[in-house]
């Protein structure tokens, strides 16, 4: 029932979330590769993947549009590619600029925003702009109908909430009184909003300097022309995130902090009524039942390896047991906290996943079957 294929059935958007460093990017790429092999047209959107992984998929150029992974690169790895795999690396600044261009009602508004000193200096530093850009791009691509499925590797945010909140934050911003304040002349604003407002302006001026205020006012004034577009877009994006054809996968390693983050994120997902598709516990130490206890291992291997080396092997067995015990405990905790009886457990591999074979191996662990074999 809870096989990967069932979890992905009918889904058009698959969002992969989790802490940094737990293998989100490779899990996203493996999921996308598996679905593409099964016959879907799949786009995977990622930010800054591991260099060699990108190289192995032929993505050395950073473009802000999906590019098809050359099927030739995937041949000869024992899979039949029935669909298409596309991939792109997100450029948050370019995506945000594109959005401005897209939503500007006319050329002069567009130029005014893009040319504004504050916008130019700060748009790339906006907190959460990566998150917002990611959902904006996700929306664009999913709307284009060029793909059956879009897989989004979420930005490495310490606060995954920024991602879920991105559309709301934008709506708040545009519906907020702050912006409206800049859209009406000060005199009228003061009348409408009361005397507090003129005090606010006076103090803002004192604190920030006139220059800054003018620039901020200029930017906000120009953005005013984009309000309706932004509001609609934010609402559409929000609807997309909560849509039944969207699913969120949470990836974690069994380490303490990513587990805590996964539990936290799942709670927020539930609060926001967004669809949770499954939990992937990556890099799990799975103990070989035949391993035996360290003392016995040392005794058994002493004759073959000598006592010193047998002792080292025994020590590595002891380490493995500690790690495996930690991982069992983490998985139990996750099962309870996420109310997810069957998480997808992926064993720890001996190195980073950085080539097509590695992705295929990862996909086999995710799905319990080989790509392209339904």
């Amino acid at each position: 029932m809870s096989g990967l294929a069932d979890r992905l059935e009918g889904k058009r958007v698959c969002i992969v979330a989790g802490s940094g460093g737990v293998g989100k990017t490779t899990a996203s790429a493996a999921l996308a590769l598996g679905m593409a092999a099964a016959g879907k047209r799949v786009a995977v959107v990622t930010i800054d993947p591991a260099r060699r992984l990108a190289d192995s998929l032929g993505l050395e150029e950073l473009g802000n549009e999906p590019r098809q992974v050359d099927p030739a690169l995937l041949e000869g790895h024992g899979i039949e590619m029935r669909g298409e795999l596309w991939a792109m690396m997100l450029d948050p600044k370019a995506t945000f600029d594109d959005l401005i261009v897209d939503l500007s009602p006319d050329a002069s508004t567009r130029e005014e925003v893009l040319g504004n000193r504050i916008y130019a200096q700060l748009s790339s530093a906006i907190a959460g702009s990566q998150e917002f850009s990611a959902v904006a791009k996700l929306y664009d691509i999913s709307r284009s109908e060029r793909f059956d499925v879009v897989v989004l590797d979420t930005p490495p945010s310490r606060n995954a909430l920024d991602f879920l909140r991105a559309p709301d934050r934008l709506t708040d911003f545009f519906e907020g009184r702050a912006l409206k304040l800049f859209l009406v002349p000060t005199g009228i604003a003061a009348k409408v909003m009361g005397r507090g407002t003129s005090v606010v302006f006076a103090i803002l001026k004192r604190l920030t300097g006139v220059d800054l205020l003018d620039d901020v006012a200029g930017l906000f004034g120009a953005l005013g022309g984009l309000i309706d577009g932004f509001r609609e877009r934010a609402a559409a994006v929000k609807a997309l995130l909560a849509d039944p054809t969207t699913t969120f996968f949470i990836v974690t390693s069994p380490e303490r902090e990513p587990v805590a983050e996964a539990i936290f994120f799942h709670g927020k997902l539930r609060e926001a009524r967004m669809p949770f598709g499954g939990l992937i516990v990556n890099r799990t130490v799975v103990l070989d039942a035949a391993l035996g206890d360290p003392v016995a291992v040392r005794a058994t291997l002493r004759d073959k390896l000598g006592d010193a080396l047998a002792g080292k092997v025994a020590q590595s067995v002891a380490d493995l047991q500690l790690l495996a015990a930690r991982d069992v405990e983490s998985i139990e905790r996750l099962k309870v906290a996420l109310d997810e009886p069957e998480p997808i457990v992926v064993p720890r591999l001996d190195g980073d996943v950085q080539d097509v074979d590695g992705l295929l191996a990862l996909y086999r662990h995710l799905s319990g079957s080989s790509p392209g074999t339904a």
Binding site: A125, I126, V216, F220, V297, T300, V313, S316, V317, G351
Partner: protein, 279 residues
């Protein structure tokens, strides 16, 4: 790691504060003090303090400090208009956060009755955003041109971009992505702040137990499950060694501090011991 670094400094007799900037309480929970009061300086261990910096709290504190009259500050703080403007101004959250860090680092503290710290350890956000936070004062000073914000931004930036006063420590696992990001952090710091990476710490390293000869002998007994497990560990250690070499290459050829993985879970005191022996 920030907590361990703070502990090292506190043990050396420095009055130290560990500041978190993402309101998560990681540091407090590392000391088993979950739910520590946010935005107050709490003593976790002798000479070691903790604070969680929230931009909204920092803004309120700044206004109370900057404005001559208490009531005016209160009006502003309660004015939704004002907080919306502040929150909506791009980069303002970063600026407020970093402003509070600056305040903590002053010998003559603005916070009434507060004592000076010898060292402020910042548990910074992940690579990309971390640099944005550090460079916020510079960006703002350039954008504002004149006025108090520009002036203060310049002062704060002078501290942050001075290698004598500010040191950036990068912590990375010996993994492809983490090593790549550390290289990018080094570049971004140099480009936007003119700051070098003071030190790189490679964390959670797996033991590199077996010599090539030993590995060879093990391979001839790979059928034994324990030996197979040991060989798999050896493969990871070898991969890790390659990543450590890459890390060194990407960070001016300097050898990173190396901290081992603790299979039983991290222990702060022990982490601090290991860190102290290598700094």
């Amino acid at each position: 790691m920030a907590a361990a670094l703070g502990l090292v400094a506190a043990r050396a007799g420095k009055r130290t504060i560990v500041a978190e900037v993402a309101r998560r309480g990681d540091v407090a929970s590392a000391f088993d003090r979950g739910g520590a009061e946010p935005f107050s300086e709490t003593e976790l261990a002798p000479g070691l303090f903790h604070i969680s910096i929230d931009p909204q709290d920092a803004l309120e504190e700044y206004l109370r400090d900057q404005l001559p009259s208490g009531p005016v500050a209160e009006v502003l703080i309660r004015s939704r208009v004002f907080t919306m403007v502040a929150a909506a101004t791009p980069g303002m959250r970063e600026l407020l956060t970093v402003g509070k860090l600056w305040e903590l680092a002053q010998l003559d503290r603005r916070t009434p009755g507060a004592d000076a710290y010898d060292l402020v350890v910042v548990d910074a956000p992940a690579t990309g955003h971390g640099v944005a936070v550090l460079s916020a004062p510079r960006t703002f000073a350039a954008a504002a041109g004149s006025g108090p914000v520009a002036r203060q931004g310049t002062i704060i930036d002078a501290m942050l971009s001075d290698p004598k006063r500010t040191a950036v420590v990068a912590v990375a696992k010996a993994e492809e992505l983490a090593v790549t990001e550390t290289g990018q952090l080094r570049e971004a710091l140099l480009a936007s702040m003119g700051l070098p990476l003071e030190r790189v710490v490679a964390n959670a390293l797996e033991p590199d137990r077996f010599s090539p000869q030993e590995a060879k002998l093990l391979e001839s007994h790979a059928g034994h499950p324990a030996v197979a497990g040991a060989l798999s560990g050896h493969a990871r250690a070898r991969h890790q060694r390659a990543q450590l070499a890459r890390l060194r290459r990407l960070t001016d050829g300097r050898t990173p501090a190396r901290l081992p993985l603790h299979p039983g879970g991290p222990d702060l005191e022990r982490l601090a011991d290991e860190l102290a022996s290598q700094l």
